[in-house]
Amino acid sequence: MSSSTPTPTLRRSVALVWRSLRSMRTALILLLLIALAAVAGSLVPQVSVADARIASIFRDHPLRARIYEQLGLFDVFGSWWFTLLYSLLLVSLAACLLPRTRAFIRNLRTKPTPARELDVLRHYAEVEVPSDPEHAILGARRVLRRRLFRVSGPNGAPSLAADKGIGREGGSLLFHWAFFVLLVGIVWGKGTGFSGQAVVVEGQAWTEAHANFDGTLREGSFFGEDHSGVQIRVEDFKATYRMTGQPQDFVTRAELLNADGTPARQVDIRVNHPAEIDGVKFFQFGYGWAPVIRVERDGVPILDGPVVCQQNAPPEGVSPLQLPWNCVVKLPSLDPDIGIRFELWPDSRALYALLETGQAMPMITEFAPVMTYEAYRGDLRSDLVQSTSILDTTAMQRFDRGVVGAGETKDLGDGLTVSFPDLRQYTVLTVSRDRGLWIVFLAAILVLLGLLPALYTSRRKVWVTAEPEGSGSLLKVGGFALQRRSQFEEEFGKVVRELRRASEEKVGT
């Protein structure tokens, strides 16, 4: 920084950056910036948490929305600058900790150093003992050792130095390194993992593979497409509600199978009780109804199997339990195409209540289920509409409508029949893998274990010298504490008392 310094070379600026990364203040500032980013992330609606609110901002305030989008504010925790802050924090933390750790290890190896003038110390006492200086020092050594002090000396001279409280720096280092490992574990676990949803109808099996996920599959940035191939065969699903309509329990009974198809074990998957196989976890997420629908033409089945129904978002003040379930059947193999739209009422009493009073009652269990249907003929426009749950009727005409109850068959005309032999449920499971889990968990425990000594122990030193006096000797005891001085006062008093007692015992024997 003197006037003679030439223009900063690359090396110099790298050294400068490294020096500033090494300071604790930089790490703290970076942590604070991450906290500030988190504030923004909690105030601005985030992608995949509040998509509807983001859409409404785009509609009402297009300019603001565009600025937010450019700044990555809709996806703070996935934005490049958050990643940058996070990486800088990791580097800075390591840069901070390395020299500290080196110094700590050096400190562990070196013995406490002797002090000369003890009577200027904050804690000082003199004890007269009957034994000679050499033995008096050995007695003092025993006393301090018993109190778990690290003692060095006597080295020739009748004096010793002792210290205690290595746990403060050691705990602090453990805390910080564990925090570092935790941050790395999060990145590694999320980066190599995935998370998505599986929709499985009772009686069916589902294999963990990319194509089988429902909706978007969130994959980590270094995920190597190494799907496990494990299977889950859902036997049944049961939702229990209280009298008030409040959910009580959701259980998926299933069998887990290894990737080679051999059965592994029987599991009950509940909210809060996931099942795991081969590092892949299955969590209870949701459920729905899947009526078995059979469509025949001239007695030949064209379609026969469970169809997954979905629900629309309920309007304000209406419970989703009061709403019917919608599903669609598309038959592009017929000419012209046939499409049938179904509305399922798992408890037909709700439909009758709706027709009579204008208000459906909540459907908690299956009770004489019925489906209303609307059959269309024409062009399904399959090349335009890929979704299996949307029926595009712009190029179609309705040719029949009606109601089909469970176990019934209805004639649609043209030799077509639709039947509803059975009603099943499907379960929605979140399927995810996070290999960093145990690292994060272990690191979190170490964070806590390091924090306690770092906060609650204190560094303190005690020095003792002995000089001959009369027939015995005079012990001079000095003490010093870096933290918790009032507590050390007490401890120091106890040490002095024990020194006195130790010498008395000596004389007694």
């Binding site: 942590l31 909690s42 959701f250 909210v271």
Partner: protein, 315 residues
């Protein structure tokens, strides 16, 4: 006893506790100002009575709901105010033997209870499946315990800032001669308040009502250093619960985010305490920012920000 009568007992005991704390608060302020020992005794008796009543209220609430009463914001707030008062009795009155700050802590407890009963009250009801987890019970109780410790620490920090400012003013007014200390009690008139100023205030006021700032500072630090690891533990147990309930241990949900922000701020406070030049007033300001963040984590996230924790609120 029936569910309804347990619920009645719970609300009745709540009222008793509320008014006991209110009385204790007023008595504590009176003691702070006039130092009448019997008033302090009365305040402590009322505080203990309030604690007992609140314990009854919490247990009765649990009996009425048929579960551990830590399921919504009302129950959290009741438990929080209980632990705040308990932490004050145990650590401030008991361990540190500081008798003059009770009014402020009780004021916080009374305010928390008032907000709970006015804005957050819901009847005793069973929990939805996602909330039904042992980890959640551990998570919630450690979060509330640490909140109470941090809150008491921060209230004392506010008092520290007030006192420290006053001590600084006094030190400025009376300049020491030759670098030596001045005995304020017996200072000669020419060293006292300037001649053009009004007469010096009474000695009790001169010394101030509150304990010395060093005492307050140490006490506040201890409370926060005690609360911080428990807050850390609470976040960890919360993550364990989130892992089983929502299939991820951390998802930047607003409540998670704000608990992290609060953690960072208090971590900054502890670092500041360990850094020379940042002790005292600067560190205290960080603690205050942490207190604001704590209140946001506790109230604002549930009441105004939509997220997974919103059902823990007033529904």
């Amino acid at each position: 006893m029936s569910t309804a009568s347990w619920a009645r007992l719970s609300t009745d005991a709540f009222s008793v506790a509320f008014f006991a704390y209110l009385f204790a608060m007023l008595a504590s302020f009176y003691y702070l100002a006039f130092r009448r020992k019997p008033v302090w005794v009365a305040a402590m008796v009322a505080t203990y009575a309030g604690l007992a009543a609140q314990l009854i209220s919490i247990v009765a609430r649990g009996m009425a709901a048929g579960r551990i009463p830590l399921g919504n914001m009302y129950e959290y707030s009741v438990f929080l105010s209980f632990l705040v008062v308990l932490a004050y009795v145990v650590f401030v009155e008991g361990v540190a033997r500081v008798h003059t700050v009770g009014g402020f802590v009780l004021a916080f407890a009374v305010l928390t209870m008032a907000v709970a009963v006015l804005f957050l009250y819901v009847g005793p009801e069973p929990l939805v499946p996602a909330l039904n987890s042992y980890w959640r019970q551990i998570h919630v109780s450690s979060m509330i315990l640490s909140s109470s410790l941090l809150a008491v620490g921060c209230i004392i920090t506010i008092l520290y800032l007030v006192k420290e400012r006053r001590e600084r003013r006094l030190a400025e007014t009376i300049a020491p001669i030759m670098g030596g200390a001045v005995d304020l009690e017996n200072a000669p008139p020419h060293l006292g308040v300037g001649a053009d100023e009004p007469a010096a205030p009474a000695p009790t006021l001169r010394r101030g009502l509150l304990p010395p700032s060093a005492t307050l500072d140490r006490l506040a630090y201890r409370m926060i250093a005690f609360g911080f690891p428990i807050w850390t533990f609470g976040i960890i147990t919360g993550a364990i619960w989130a892992e089983s309930a929502w299939s991820r241990y951390w998802g930047w949900d607003p409540k998670e985010t704000w608990s992290f922000i609060t953690w960072v701020i208090f971590a900054g406070y502890l670092h500041a305490r360990a850094t020379s030049g940042w002790k005292g007033r600067r560190a205290a300001v960080i603690a205050l920012v942490g207190f604001v963040s704590l209140l946001i984590t506790y109230y604002a996230v549930n009441l105004w920000i939509v997220g997974l924790h919103s059902y823990a609120g007033v529904s």
